[in-house]
Amino acid sequence: MILQTFNAWTMKQQPFLMPLALWMCAASVLTGCDSTADDDSDNLVVVEAFLYAGEPVDDIQLERTIPFGSSDTVGVPINDAFVRLIQDGVTYTLSSSGTDGRYAYVGDDLHVKAADVFTLDITYDGQHITAQTTVPPPPDNVQLSDNALIVPDLENDGFGSFGDLRDFFSVTWDNPSNEYHYVVIRSEATDNPDYILPDFVRGFIGNFELVTEPTTTNFYDILPLELEFIGQHEATVYRINTEYAELFENLEQDSRDLNEPPTNIEGGLGIFSAFNSVTIPFDVVRD
């Protein structure tokens, strides 16, 4: 009787019940497997590897990306990767520093020369990362405008001679195709350094280390104020490969469309590049 009554009622209410039942059925099945595919598994290797012609291979660093939401501000160094350099079919295995993610070649049979093609081959945590770069030729015709940079004697000549600190001399090179170069000025360390600026001024201005930004021009003007000591210096002009120039061009990421920085790393991020350079010594002397 109850069943008959129920049946009669369901027949009468059929227009409502059928769609309701269908909906409840579909809703329960589909929303039950409502999965969000927010895949946040991102553990890419960031490579920062630079080769310098004529110098040891010791500037290779590996770390992991910092996932969004992490409180870390620097990437976790990777110290247990298997890192190799391959040049002309010969493989050179690099050693890990074990702490800061840096790798170096400890042997003396690896020489970085112009036109050498190097392949960086990294195996880490099941990932295979490769990159390739070619050592560029050295900059052409690097010259200084003078043999020495003369700076004023500020302590003896007084502050009126400060204006002479704006005098400069130039390092130049041939660059007909506007390729990127950068300049490093180094001075030899001495036990008793003779500073260009008086102590009280130097304290305000701070450190004088000089590594220039990459430039596509064919000169760099060295100002006395950019230097620190009286004495022997050297200016090194580096020729930069395309991969580094592109990275430099993309220093700014536009949040409006979030441009992806270029990378020449296959299977990872970062950069593997090589440099060649010419060094010219010069003196900084007091007037």
Partner: protein
């Protein structure tokens, strides 16, 4: 009658008749092999209450499988009808089917068949004699759906009765795009749909950022949707066709007016003499005058901004000194659309019509700021800062078409159309800051930055379509189309950085030929085949494109039908996806140039099976589409410090779309509706994106389930609800950050963007419902009223639209922007 006594109307008729005479003779000669013992019947099908012609109405010969359909002007011809007493079954979506006995031997005039609109399923005196559909007719041909706009009002909406929103409830058409009224059909994008309104191409169908379509349902009487494999008379698009026919106006004065919480609309039908009619309709939002809660909800959903923002200083918090003078600014937004159609029938064989459409949206978020002495931007108490922000968005369409339809002979009908269509989209966000010395008034700092995007499409089309009923089982369609397009696009940033500037002109010419009918009527009477070929020439790439089309329908039994279609399609204009990871996409139209933007291609393979009774339809269709010439635009890989080379910002690729759709529809009775399910996949491959690996397209959704129900509780009350479920859509997201020590000793932080569309939003689902009450108005009840309560997103599901990333925060801020939550709406309508 004396010649001088002829009216102008008769003169036109005479001239047209003379023109047709020669053609008629030629056609008659071509038909000399026809067995003239049989009869040819022709006529028109109209709405019995208004006199409106009914396009694509079905006319069947009872007791046979033979039939035909009216053309766009409501005209039909049926050849080879037995010279005897026969019965015609005439039906049209939303109208009571008619069983019409006639004696073909005594017929001397074309038939004038009138159908009555269905007013209620509870009318017991109606005898259902043929298929009786409501709202949607999905089994007419392969991948073809017919929609009755006048019946869509029963469906729940977010604000407006909306044709395109209703189409999104069909299988194979994505129903989760609250932010776009455009249709994603079987893995295609909205720009790949050919949208025609009285023959004019409509390039952008969005009102209010896509929450509503740009078409006023009051002005449309019929919608034909081809989800794929469309016939040869349509071309220039690779996904689907939506062919809208505007109302021509009734033979008596009538109209309608309605208002809801967002807009008001009015429609007027005016007979002009005995042979002309005029239809006018207008709709406008009143959001710039009165902001309702519904408007506020939608606006805040779209922009992610409060409609009445807090007191704001414009460009960030002041950093010292006197703050900028704050202003509270409300955005100014409105949309409108206008439709007008004038129809003139100079003779019984000719129809002349002019149709006009204009729709526009306008959003102004500009604000002027004037600060006295301020410390923002490095200023101090001795500085005056002035700034203003221009933030304008306008888009819209204007179109006009003129058509001449002529029945040259009972078996030969032609349409000549001239149409102009224009679309524009202007976006201007320009911020200006100037700092002046308070004492000397000299400018110490000045800067202007922002984004300017202007896109304009002008399209002129001439087309000629002819239909020739050669024999009872064979119809020949042929015609041509010429289209000249001009497209301009300007994208400038920060006043001086021109990202992209294009000014293009292109022409295309197409010819088509198509036969349809039963190739072997005696041997295989239930097999219907349509064969066509469209040949297009496009001058920008100086190439000719052959586009074969074919569809087959095999009636295995009276109820079971096997269907198949194949077609090749080309598209010479594209709406390029402008990828923007952090702020969403802003797309723009360009002509294919064979270089940056390729000619899009698609090949459709479709197979289906349907089982249909008088009450139910069960339909399944599987499709596979090969896509080529796809284009994306991205600034993601551009250098930021050097001049932009626009060619490097375009990416071209190809893809596939495949899926299977199921539909179970209850067509008749007090309870109608359908359940549809689509399983699909859309995958793109671009050489320059995602390392060349395939990636899911933005519109890729594995599952989509829709339930639509309309329940007639009584003659006055109607209840309906729809439920949509779909898998989450893919998106591209920044995933991590990393640093690199540069050679100059600085450390630079970079953001790594994850794989293209490598992330998935949560699944989407939503339940909408509406309750409608209809009642007579006036002493004689010749007017009617209707009140509807609509509840959108009834259980207030938070469906994620997109994610926004704030890279200036650490850790990076991620904000989910959701679609509309629970939103009620009420509307009132009067028909007279």
């Amino acid at each position: 009658m004396d010649r001088s006594m002829k009216t102008p109307e008769m003169n036109i008729a005479c001239r047209l008749n003379r023109c047709g005479l020669l053609l008629g003779v030629v056609i008659s000669l071509g038909m000399s092999t026809e067995a003239w013992a049989q009869q040819t019947i022709s006529g028109t099908v109209t709405d019995g209450s208004s006199g409106e012609t009914l396009p694509y109405a079905s006319i069947l010969l009872e007791g046979t499988s033979r039939g035909t359909a009216t053309n766009v002007d409501g005209y039909f011809v049926m050849v080879g009808v037995p010279a005897d007493s026969v019965v015609l079954l005439v039906s049209f979506l939303g109208y009571t089917p008619l069983r019409l006995p006639i004696d073909t031997r005594t017929l001397t005039e074309p038939l004038a068949i009138e159908l009555e609109p269905i007013t209620s399923s509870f009318e017991e005196d109606i005898v259902v004699v043929a298929e009786r559909y409501q709202m949607v007719k999905a089994a007419e041909g392969i991948s073809k759906v017919t929609v009755s706009p006048k019946d869509l009002a029963v469906l729940p909406t977010a604000g407006e009765v909306d044709i395109f929103r209703s189409l999104q409830l069909l299988p194979g058409i994505s129903g989760t795009n609250e932010g776009s009224a455009g249709l994603f059909v079987r893995g295609g994008t909205p720009d790949q749909n050919l949208v025609l309104l009285d023959g004019m191409t409509v390039y952008h169908v969005d009102h209010f950022y896509g929450f509503f379509s740009a078409f006023n349902a009051d002005a449309i009487k019929d919608v034909q949707v081809y989800k794929g494999g469309f016939p040869a008379q349509y071309g220039g698009r690779t996904s689907s066709v939506v062919d809208l026919t505007g109302r021509t106006g009734a033979n008596t004065l009538g109209g309608a007016a309605s208002i809801n919480l967002l807009s008001a609309s009015a429609m007027l039908e005016v007979p002009v003499g005995t042979r002309s009619s005029l239809l006018l309709s207008a709709r406008r939002s009143y959001t710039d005058v009165l902001q309702t809660g519904l408007y506020n909800n939608i606006y805040e959903t779209i922009t992610g901004e409060d409609i009445t923002p807090e007191e704001q200083g414009g460009f960030g918090p002041p950093q010292g000194g006197n703050p900028l003078e704050n202003q509270s600014v409300s955005p100014n937004f409105y949309f409108y659309d206008l439709n007008a159609k004038f129809t003139y029938r100079p003779t019984n064989r000719d129809v002349l019509g002019v149709s006009f459409y204009n729709g526009q949206d306008h959003l102004d978020k500009s604000r002027d700021l004037f600060g006295g002495r301020g410390g923002a931007f490095g200023g101090d108490a001795t500085q005056n800062i002035e700034s203003d922000l221009t933030d304008l968005t306008d888009w819209g369409n204007v179109g006009v078409s003129g058509k001449w339809s002529r029945q040259w002979h009972p078996r030969f009908y032609s349409n000549t159309l001239v149409a102009y269509s224009s679309y524009f989209s202007d976006y201007n966000r320009d911020a200006f800051i100037e700092r002046r010395d308070a004492d000397t008034d000299s400018v110490t700092f000045s800067n202007r930055f922002g984004t300017l995007e202007d896109n304009r499409v002008d399209d002129f089309t001439f087309r000629l379509d002819n239909e020739w009923q050669i024999r009872s089982e064979r119809k020949l369609s042929f015609g041509m189309q010429y289209t000249a397009s001009d497209i301009r696009y300007d994208f400038t940033r920060d006043d001086t950085l021109q990202v992209l500037n294009r000014d293009q002109s292109g022409q295309q010419m197409a010819f088509y030929l198509q036969t349809s009918g039963r190739p072997l009527p005696r041997l295989l009477p239930s097999v219907t085949v349509t064969n066509g070929m469209r040949v297009s020439y496009y001058d920008q790439v100086d190439d000719v494109y052959m586009e074969p089309r074919m569809s087959v329908s095999i009636g295995l039994t009276d109820r079971i039908k096997l269907k198949g279609a194949y077609g090749e399609f080309n598209q010479f204009v594209a709406r390029v996806v402008n990828e923007n990871v952090t702020e969403g996409a802003r797309d723009f139209w360009l002509l294919a140039d064979g270089d940056d933007v390729g000619v899009q291609t698609a090949t459709h393979y479709i197979a289906g099976l349907s089982y249909e009774t008088g009450t139910w339809l069960f339909d399944a269709e599987a499709y596979h589409k090969d896509l080529g010439g796809l284009t994306e635009f991205s600034l993601r890989f551009r250098p930021t410090r050097t001049e932009i080379n626009a060619d490097e910002l375009f990416f071209t690729g190809d893809g596939i779309a495949r899926g299977i759709e199921f539909l179970a529809q209850k067509k008749t009775g007090a309870h109608t509706g359908w359940l549809s399910y689509t399983l699909s996949e859309v995958e793109h491959t671009f050489e320059g994106l995602n390392d060349g690996d395939p990636f899911p397209a933005l519109q890729d959704q594995l599952h989509e389930l829709k339930l639509v129900n309309s329940i007639e509780l009584s003659q006055e009350w109607m209840l309906s609800f729809t439920w949509t479920y779909a898998s989450g859509k893919p998106y591209t997201a920044p995933e991590s950050i990393y640093t690199i020590d540069l050679l100059d000793g600085t450390q630079q932080s970079y953001t790594h963007v994850g794989s293209k569309n490598g992330q998935r939003l949560p699944a989407y689902h939503r339940l909408d419902t509406s309750l409608q009450y209809r009642f007579p108005i006036g002493y004689e009840g010749d007017a009617s009223g209707q009140i509807a309560l609509s509840l959108f997103n009834l259980y207030n599901r938070s469906n994620v639209w997109y994610k926004e990333y704030d890279l200036s925060e650490s850790p990076v801020g991620v904000t989910d922007y959701n679609f509309l939550g629970f939103t009620p709406n009420i509307s009132f309508r009067v028909d007279f």
